[in-house]
């Protein structure tokens, strides 16, 4: 039997440009500083007061081919809850965990997400994938959003059998997705350096 094929072509991507914060994080003072239109920028808060799971910070650094941090970038993340389920129709106003985060660069030059460590999600082979976070990066000079994943340094065993990590042939390149664990002031933080080019270029996916 023949499979259905697409009837329409996807709208082609265009760069988010240098002023992405105007539309997607207008309240951020370093960038657009547009106050009074949206009460709160989308994706700023992922957690509710009763969200189950280990509170963590995720820090992502984006470094371009000149070794310069991409300060105009915007990053979104999408992750499962502590039980390994993706949240549908979360109501952040009611304090639900949303699984969705969006950040521009903060004053320290970091893209910082306050979240929980995700649980394990079942992969296409029926086995549980290692805990991970989906990462999407847009910026000036990026023609189509870059998709990658963040894994956790302290999940050695789970990472070794992960459905996606095992598709990366080079062990050295596999390492580009693994965030290092650091002790923050009051909680653990996981730090991932995303290199857009060069010897340490991050693995980006065609999903």
């Amino acid at each position: 039997m023949l499979h259905k094929t697409q009837k329409l072509k996807e709208t082609p991507s265009q760069t988010a440009g240098p002023y992405v914060a105007i539309g997607m994080a207008p309240n951020a003072e370093k960038f657009a500083d547009i106050k009074g239109v949206y009460k709160k920028d989308l994706g700023i808060t992922m957690l509710g007061p009763d969200t189950k799971g280990e509170r963590i910070e995720i820090v992502i650094n984006v470094i371009d081919g000149d070794g310069v941090p991409a300060s105009d970038a915007l990053i979104e993340i999408w992750q499962a809850d502590a039980d390994g389920n993706y949240v549908k129709d979360a109501d952040p106003v009611a304090g639900d965990f949303t699984g969705f985060g969006r950040q521009v660069m903060n004053d320290k030059g970091e893209f910082l997400f306050q979240t929980i460590k995700p649980g394990r999600v079942t992969g296409p082979d029926g086995l549980r994938m290692a805990p991970h976070v989906s990462v999407w990066i847009v910026a000036r000079g990026i023609n189509i959003g870059l998709q990658t994943r963040l894994y956790f340094e302290d999940e050695t065993e789970a990472n070794a059998s992960d459905w996606v990590l095992n598709k990366i042939p080079s062990p050295r390149r596999r390492q580009t997705l693994i965030a290092r664990k650091e002790q923050g002031t009051d909680m653990v933080r996981y730090v991932l350096d995303v290199h857009l080019q060069g010897d340490k270029e991050t693995v980006f996916f065609d999903v």
Binding site: S13, Q14, G23, P124, L196
Partner: protein, 248 residues
């Protein structure tokens, strides 16, 4: 056995046609030279992580979020410029409407100036224009917002490059792998065909998809012109179900 489509929110998406999108490296748009990854993208297939995604309810949106003429008004006056309605339908590659999905937009003001701290163009800011808006599509996938037509502006790339008038769009769908950012241009604008960023899209018919059509039928009488801009997101692959109707 019938070949039916999965209900929205479930199942893998069609493979993305990367030749229809701009490649990562397009030297005529200089910023790509130090930001385009040099390794090919790694095909990984899709898991629940990719074919689920965040959805947003009406509780997040304010009354004026879709009215850029008024939503940043400081003194009660409207933003300056040619008043327009931009509307259209969000569809997937199966030509099915995408309901209740978030569409975010941002743009320069009528003079071609962005409200952003790093923007240095000499054209003036409009005190009553912020430049951001967002709306949800209705049950048939339609969205609309009201704004002013943005101006063209020069930018530092090659010596004398100008951006055609455009509005930036961000669209979610219901899968994180559908996530899309693009730009909308205006029918009849000669600047479109001189722009290095438009030119990153290889195929002329793909560029045509980015051009909103002037729609005289939906003009708001003695108020605003209308432009129609339909958007297509990735669709979900069909699958085999036994005696199961779509949506059941």
């Amino acid at each position: 056995m019938s070949d039916v489509l999965l209900p929205s929110g479930e199942g893998p998406l069609f493979h993305r046609d990367r030749d229809w999108h701009p490649p990562a490296l397009t030297p005529q748009y200089k910023s790509t030279t130090f930001r385009a990854p040099r390794h090919p993208l790694l095909a990984m297939g899709q898991t629940a992580t990719e074919f689920t995604g965040p959805t947003f309810g009406h509780s997040k949106l304010g009354e004026l979020d879709g009215d850029l003429i008024r939503n940043y008004s400081q003194d009660g006056s409207d933003a300056m410029g040619q008043r327009i309605i931009v509307y259209g339908q969000v569809l997937d590659e199966n030509a099915r409407a995408v309901p209740n999905t978030l569409v975010e937009v941002w743009q320069a003001n009528a003079a071609g100036r962005y409200r952003h701290k790093r923007e240095g163009y000499l054209a003036p800011l409009d005190p009553n224009f912020g430049g951001c808006g967002r709306v949800l599509t209705d049950e048939n996938g339609f969205y609309s917002f009201r704004t002013i037509k943005p101006g063209a502006y020069p930018w530092p790339n090659n010596g004398n490059d100008w951006r055609p008038a455009h509005i930036h769009f961000s669209i979610f769908g219901d899968a994180f792998a559908q996530r899309l950012i693009s730009q909308m241009y205006f029918e009849g604008d000669p600047m479109i065909w001189q722009c290095p960023i438009v030119g990153t899209v290889p195929d002329k018919s793909a560029i045509d998809q980015l051009i909103a059509r002037l729609d005289r039928e939906n003009t708001v009488h003695y108020d605003a012109l209308a432009y129609r801009f339909d958007i297509v997101l990735r669709g979900r692959r069909s699958t085999m179900f036994e005696n199961k109707l779509e949506g059941n």
